[in-house]
């Protein structure tokens, strides 16, 4: 087995602990943006999709790679916009203060 996979495993373990630590105490208020924000972050799948399509040779690989890129791109932009829209509502600096 390639040494790179072991390196990736070490990295994965550290990343797992980081993930747990980071969101340990997130208030209920932010559960949706947290979920939607992490939804956006796994949009990194687009990078993998570009690589897959980028090195694809046969028409079948290209077709599936293309589908991967389309779906990955939807994940990225959709996830970003949804998160940004929700957070904009929680943003206090934009509110003009409540009614009297």
């Amino acid at each position: 087995m390639a040494a790179d996979i072991w390196t990736a495993l070490f990295i994965a373990i550290l990343a797992a602990f980081t993930g747990y630590e980071i969101i340990g105490r997130v208030p209920v208020l932010l559960h949706t943006p947290l979920m939607s924000g992490s939804n956006f972050i796994h949009g990194i799948v687009l990078v993998g999709a570009i690589v897959a399509l980028g090195i694809a040779t046969t028409p079948l690989e290209q077709a599936i790679g293309f589908v991967a890129v389309v779906m990955g791109a939807m994940n990225v932009t959709g996830g970003y916009v949804v998160t940004e829209r929700i957070l904009a509502m929680f943003d206090r600096s934009k509110k003009k203060g409540g009614p009297p």
Binding site: I41, V47, A49, I50, G54
Partner: protein, 462 residues
């Protein structure tokens, strides 16, 4: 020349990963959350551009077309969709990520089936990615109302589902064993089928757990794809995917666990239990459900010192949040303290009620978690329950009830409880609500938006 480009690309990935971590970290506080998504967004953009210009990449036109088409659809859809449709939007975009992960794994399997380590990782990524996209699509259909939200059950469900999964995985392993891509087709078909079968029996009220779970699964699928890519020609993209994917997998798992715990159930019970498929029988309620008119309810609230509003999925369905905001403002103008009691699993996704109330312009200082607000009910004059049922059902304290042990909003402790409800039916879980029969409880029947509108009118008159 090539080496120089490679270094820049690697540096971009490193910076991107740091920005993802800091961005996610910033999302744990409302003051910094918006900055967080901006960091992560810039990082994502840089990583995508860097990958596009990586040495060895071909098919530029196809890639560009795919990014423009997919990105355009995602951007437009997310922009125009109503806030009330957010749970199904999150499900859809999550499903797209899972689908992309499965498709990447498919390309990997087609091109390097003979590399056993890589093929194994890709198979795992394909399994999880396929379940994630198929399950997310079913969740979307249920939440969108294009499929009924109640659990869809059939005989011998568990053995059938398990067989589909096992045979599907078997085909995948056999494909690697025989180094023959022809077995990959039944592999993918069966895995997608399993994702559908897994999600059909899960009811609407369990969606907060399920959406969060599929989000975590997609993260893991992405990480597995990353593992398979690391010893390929563009391996460093794989490391970025491993880190981001595992980060999401861990954060998502934790959120899923929190949601399941908020219902005092295990994740396995939520996913496999077909909860709410059968109605509770044999329980006879003592007392009667006592109706109240909107005018009387308005008077009761107008003369209260403190009113606590407990919203649920019924408020979301009726899109009553703007009216609720009007009601809260009116009450406050009359000197009544208004607070909102938010149960973690009220609605159809984690934090659903917070999003709707924020959309209506209600300041988040007025929103209180279950644990914060529960001690206050005893000194609260009126609790207004809007379209919530199971999360305020004191049956949770009754031995033998299916809800037993679920931490609820203890609204029954208030002096008066007014429940806005469409009809006399049971809650999602099919369980009688003890609250409705209590002496201090009054039922205000009707669509939440119309009824709250009537309350507003009555308050304006008084």
């Amino acid at each position: 020349m090539i080496a120089w480009i490679g270094t820049v690309i690697d540096a971009v990935y490193v910076v991107a990963v740091i920005a993802f971590i800091l961005g996610l970290k910033a999302m744990s506080s409302p003051e910094t959350a918006r900055r967080g998504i901006a960091y992560a967004g810039a990082a994502m953009f840089a990583a995508v551009v860097a990958t596009f210009f990586s040495p060895g990449i071909t098919n530029f036109a196809l890639i560009a077309l795919g990014v423009i088409v997919g990105g355009g659809i995602g951007w437009y859809w997310a922009r125009v969709v109503k806030m009330t449709a957010m749970p199904q939007m999150v499900a859809v975009f999550n499903g797209m990520g899972g689908g992309a992960a499965a498709a990447i794994a498919a390309v990997e399997l087609l091109s390097s089936l003979s590399n056993v380590a890589n093929a194994g990782l890709s198979l795992a990524g394909a399994v999880i990615g396929s379940i994630s996209i198929a399950g997310s699509v079913i969740a979307f259909l249920k939440l969108q109302g294009w499929m009924r939200q109640r659990p869809i059950v059939y005989p011998a469900r568990q053995p059938i589902n398990l067989s589909v999964l096992a045979i599907g995985v078997g085909f995948g392993i056999y494909a690697v064993f025989r180094v023959d891509t022809v077995y990959l087709l039944p592999f993918f078909v069966l895995l997608l089928t399993y994702g559908v079968l897994l999600t059909l029996p899960i009811g609407g009220a369990d969606m907060p757990v399920v959406i969060s779970l599929f989000n975590a699964l997609t993260g893991i699928a992405v990480a597995l794809d990353g593992f398979a890519l690391v010893n390929g020609p563009l391996g460093d993209a794989g490391y970025a995917m491993v880190i981001a994917g595992v980060l999401v997998g861990a954060a998502g798992s934790l959120l899923t666990l929190l949601m399941a715990r908020a219902m005092n159930r295990s994740i396995a019970n939520v996913v496999f239990g077909a909860y709410g498929a059968t109605e509770e029988t044999g329980v006879t309620m003592v007392g009667t459900m006592k109706p109240i008119e909107a005018d009387d309810a308005a008077v009761l609230m107008a003369y209260a010192n403190q009113v606590v509003i407990a919203p649920g999925y019924g408020m979301a369905v009726a899109q009553a949040q703007q009216k609720v905001k009007e009601l809260a403002d009116l009450l406050e103008s009359k000197g009544v303290a208004v607070k909102f009691a938010i149960h973690p699993v009220a609605g159809r996704m984690p934090g659903h009620m917070n999003v709707l109330l924020a959309e209506a312009g209600i300041n988040y200082d007025k929103l209180f978690d279950r644990d914060e607000i529960n001690p206050e009910f005893a000194t609260t004059d009126v609790v207004l329950v809007i379209g919530a049922n199971d999360v305020v059902n004191p049956a949770a304290h009754r031995a033998g009830s299916p809800l037993q042990g679920m931490p609820i909003l203890d609204v029954e402790n208030a002096k008066n409880v007014i429940v806005i409800k469409r009809g006399q039916g049971k809650g999602f879980a099919g369980i009688e609500n003890d609250l409705f029969y209590k002496e201090n409880c009054r039922m205000l029947y009707g669509d939440a938006q119309q009824v709250v509108g009537k309350l507003v009118q009555a308050l304006k008159k008084s």
